[in-house]
């Protein structure tokens, strides 16, 4: 979509005729959503936008501006209607006795908004990030000092004198010792200030002196804090973040990242936790809720195995510094409808107005190269044909109209509109699964030929689909072979539940929260109550919760003949959700269970029930009325950033094949992680490869350490 948006800009004066070929009835891929019963929003999973998604927000804002929706008629007319800051985020930590304790916090708003113009000549450097990291360290120290200052009661209040009990005296002395520790923390704050001065020009200083300085500060901090860590969970969490920060700074100096031409890529061979341990982080810190939350948000578990957390250290650091130090407005932004409604429907509408054509129900089967023997001297290889399966014909040769109106908002339905399809009733009766990799039914094949039907191809499928649709290229090109071997993907799972009691009644007080690092099989929870305004229930639910995580691969995950695989995995997700609600949810919502191990199933609201929510159905069968998904289609799988893998990614700017450009969050796009921002950056790069526009300098974050 980003590439189409760039190439169809009015500035190009219609130079490019663009057709988007789309499997099934809706746009968005992993980001697609649909409206189900009661017009409830059904997503592939949880989608949040981070405050550093400069490219994504910029295009989104331009899209809404061009759309010019009428706010009187459409509830989401402006991008600020579509996105709002998330008030609270958190991670969960497990205690020694197996309890899960949430740790929530609020990131302060920052100046500006994502997508605002950046200062001319904006550059990011490792040295700058190190300065900011040191500043973060100081803030953490000051947080500690602040709590210490307000915590201990004045010593004078303790009337200790001759004859006082030894306990009283020891208590008083202990408080004094805390003053001593407080003095230490005050000193550490100053130390951190000095640290800022030093790392601000780190490359000018002798590195071993800096390392010793960091080590000395860290050892002082440990001395002051360790004795209290066991009995003070809050302090322990703060310390873990500090410990990780120390290790990061130390590693950046040791590995000389500031002066390495590869930037953070220089340490991509290491797993992030491994690299932090190498640089002095403690085991407890790298296994903390904070770190697990980072891994969870990126589904960073090889083969979906939660015992194998892996992410390339360089990309992890790049993600962290962008997340923590360059966010604008808010750390996280949430959408006020489904991602399809908020993102892809507006893009669809704008692109249609610009003359872009959409060919729905076209499943790409093969990208074929021209025979080498037919290449002229010096001519680069190129794509000669694109082979599709046409999944359905539109009645009267008309254009398929994919959107439905829900209270003035154009939305994607969760099912195709069969009434527009030739023989639609039969297709519906036979349950054609248009988005399933395993359902190969078609009404006819279709082949597009270079020059006759296209000049350039932007291949926007997920990397998981590459081995299937690019067999020809993968067989001939060792680089593509290496890419599909090393850039691995993972399936994901998600479920959504609508509840008849609000979160406070369920035992979770406070504002809506997004929380990661929780217990498997669903490590991430988001309170999505704000979406209830967009849905149309006969009896409005009081709460809405999304859960997601990775999904381990089963046998046959890439075997197209294994037709029962999607249904099996879907059933696997359902069982996992049942177990999770019975066993684990009480850690977060203690009042959602009748007793340990027994979820109150009657809380779940059936959207098809004509009457008010009934407490009659108390069995897990009630879950059948909710929504869950196993995202196992190759193109839906999430692209990982495994250690040692990023170097195998292929760039949208790669010109090995003269008329073929790749696009997606799995490409070498400068930010090598699976996310909306990477997908948009990649799309903009793809447009640059064809039109030399936008300028690379205008793709925010492409030139970045």
């Amino acid at each position: 979509m980003a590439a189409a948006f760039e190439l169809s800009r009015p500035e190009h004066r219609g130079r490019y005729e663009i057709t988007v070929y789309q499997m099934g009835w809706r746009l968005g891929g992993k980001g697609a959503s649909g409206r189900g019963p009661a017009d409830r929003i059904e997503e592939h999973g949880l989608h949040l936008w981070m405050g550093f998604y400069e490219n994504a927000f910029r295009l989104m804002r331009e899209c809404y501006t061009e759309l010019q929706r009428d706010p009187e008629r459409c509830p989401i007319a402006d991008w600020r209607d579509a996105f709002t800051p998330i008030p609270q985020i958190g991670v969960a930590d497990v205690t020694a006795d197996g309890r899960w304790i949430p740790w929530t916090g609020i990131f302060p708003p920052t100046a500006g908004l994502p997508g605002d113009p950046l200062p001319n000549g904006q550059r990011w450097t490792v040295a700058d990030y190190m300065t900011r990291t040191a500043s973060l360290l100081r803030t953490l120290f000051e947080t500690l000092l602040s709590s210490e200052t307000s915590d201990p009661p004045p010593v004078a209040e303790t009337k200790a004198a001759d004859g006082a009990s030894s306990n009283t005296i020891v208590d008083a002395a202990a408080r004094l010792l805390r003053y001593g520790e407080l003095a230490t923390l005050a000193g550490l704050i100053e130390g951190a200030r000095l640290l800022e001065l030093m790392v601000g020009s780190v490359t000018s200083f002798e590195e071993n002196a800096i390392l010793r300085f960091l080590d000395a500060i860290a050892s002082n901090a440990r001395m002051a804090l360790e004795s209290r860590l066991e009995g003070d969970p809050t302090l322990r969490r703060v310390w873990q973040v500090m410990d990780l920060t120390f290790a990061t700074l130390r590693g950046e100096v040791r590995f000389r990242i500031a002066s390495d031409p590869r930037g953070f890529d220089a340490i991509d061979e290491y797993d992030c936790r491994e690299w932090l341990l190498l640089n002095g982080a403690s085991e407890s810190s790298v296994n903390s809720g904070f770190m697990r939350g980072l891994y969870d948000l990126g589904f960073s578990y090889e083969d979906g195995d939660v015992s194998r957390p892996r992410i390339a250290a360089g990309q992890a650091l790049r993600s962290m510094v962008r997340s923590f130090f360059t966010y604008r407005g808010a750390f996280f932004w949430r959408m006020h409808a489904g991602m399809g409604d908020v993102v892809f429907a507006p893009f669809y509408e704008v692109l249609r107005r610009r003359g872009v054509r959409f060919a729905f129900f076209h499943r790409l089967e093969s990208v074929r190269l021209a025979d080498r023997a037919h290449l002229k001297d010096g001519e680069s290889p190129y794509v000669e044909t694109l082979e599709f399966d046409v999944q359905a014909e539109i009645k009267d040769g008309a254009e398929y109209q994919p959107l439905v109106d829900i209270d003035g908002l154009p939305c994607w339905p969760a099912q195709p509109d069969y009434t527009q399809l030739v023989d639609g009733q039969r297709l519906e009766r036979e349950r054609w699964a248009f988005e399933s990799f395993w359902d190969r039914r078609k009404v006819r094949p279709k082949t597009l030929r270079v020059v006759d039907d296209f000049d350039f191809v932007i291949l926007g499928v997920g990397v998981g689909a590459i081995p299937h649709v690019c067999k020809d290229i993968v067989a001939r090109d060792p680089r593509w072979r290496a890419m599909v071997d090393h850039v691995k993907t993972v399936a994901t799972q998600a479920f959504q539940i609508w509840l008849s009691e609000d979160m406070e009644a369920l035992g979770w007080p406070g504002p809506a929260t997004t929380l990661s690092g929780f217990v498997e099989p669903f490590d991430t929870w988001a309170d999505m109550r704000h979406l209830l305004d967009r849905e149309r229930w006969p009896h409005r639910p009081r709460a809405l919760a999304y859960f997601c995580s990775v999904l381990p691969d089963g046998a046959g995950w890439d075997d197209r003949s294994c037709r029962e695989y999607p249904a099996d995995q879907r059933e696997h997700v359902r069982r996992a959700a049942v177990q999770f609600l019975n066993r684990d949810i009480a850690h977060l919502w203690p009042k959602a269970v009748r007793k340990p191990g027994e979820f109150r199933w009657e809380l779940l609201i059936d959207p098809t029930a004509a009457n008010a929510p009934s407490a009659d159905v108390k069995s897990e069968a009630r879950l059948d009325s909710q929504f869950w998904t196993a995202n196992v289609n190759p193109s839906d799988r999430y692209a990982l950033s495994l250690p040692g893998s990023t170097t195998y990614r292929i760039s949208p700017l790669d010109d090995t094949y003269d008329n073929l450009v790749v696009a997606g969050d799995w490409t070498a796009c400068g930010f090598n992680a699976g996310c909306v921002e990477a997908a948009v950056m990649s799309g903009r790069l793809a447009a640059h490869a064809i039109a030399q526009s936008p300028a690379l300098e205008d793709i925010v974050g492409f030139d970045h350490p």
Partner: protein, 248 residues
């Protein structure tokens, strides 16, 4: 296929992101990323950093000791007579002294780095070790010469005259021992406490170590006293001297 010529893609100026601006501009090593950074780009700015660092360092040490004194004062005001309380006070004193000593060394690491950066043009970073802190404890009432050879570049003999146990920590930059040095009077945090003024530091030579002489008056209050050591020719700090007088 029609006879129309296939459209070719344009040639691009580059295909990879710029990960390091210093590499792009051919500035090998340290200064590239910080071309606009005041701390590295001019001696004036460096002096400013140095001055701020010195100021901050003293504030740190002062804060440590001030808070320690406050804590001890409060404890005394409570008229504790328990031996347990006395033990806690002793522990507290030791801890505070340790913190002060630790952080002094830490601060000086930084100071040394800044001073080192000021003294040389920005080049490729290179490792160099500073001498280990030299320490001597004098037992009263005697003159105790102590010689330390932390490495070939910093040989210092310490001579202390004191009536009470006194711990001396000397931290000196490499090769500074052969420079003409000035050591300032050692000061405590409390300005009302008299300074330790009877201190000299004579430069060494290729044959002879430098000699630090310190005389502690018998009525000098217990506590920690600190001083900077300055290179007489460059007026730059090259070390610190920390003296802890232990109550008996």
């Amino acid at each position: 296929m029609s006879d129309r010529e296939r459209v070719k893609r344009p040639k691009l100026e580059r295909r990879d992101p710029i990960r390091s601006w210093s590499t792009l501009f051919g500035l090998s090593g340290p200064s590239g990323d910080d071309a606009g950074n005041g701390a590295a780009s001019g001696s004036g700015a460096l002096q400013d950093v140095l001055a701020r660092s010195v100021d901050l360092g003293y504030r740190v040490i002062d804060e440590y000791i001030r808070r320690g004194q406050q804590a001890a004062q409060r404890l005394n005001n409570q008229s504790y007579s328990s031996t347990a309380a006395a033990g806690e006070v002793q522990d507290l004193s030791v801890r505070m002294a340790q913190y002060a000593s630790d952080f002094t060394a830490v601060w000086f690491d930084m100071l040394q780095a800044v001073a080192g950066a000021a003294a040389r043009p920005p080049t490729n970073p290179s490792y160099s070790m500073r001498p280990s802190p030299t320490a001597a404890t004098a037992a009263a009432p005697a003159t105790t010469p102590a010689s330390s050879e932390a490495d070939d570049h910093a040989r210092v003999r310490i001579e202390v005259v004191a009536a009470r146990p006194t711990e001396v920590s000397l931290d000196l930059r490499p090769q500074a021992a052969t420079r003409p040095l000035i050591v300032h009077a050692l000061r405590a945090v409390d300005p009302d406490i008299p300074r330790l003024t009877d201190v000299t530091l004579r430069a060494g030579s290729a044959e002879e170590p430098a000699v630090l002489r310190l005389c502690v008056p018998g009525d000098q209050p217990p506590g920690v006293y600190n001083a900077l050591i300055i290179d007489e020719e460059t007026s730059r700090p090259v070390g610190t001297l920390s003296v802890r007088i232990i109550a008996t």
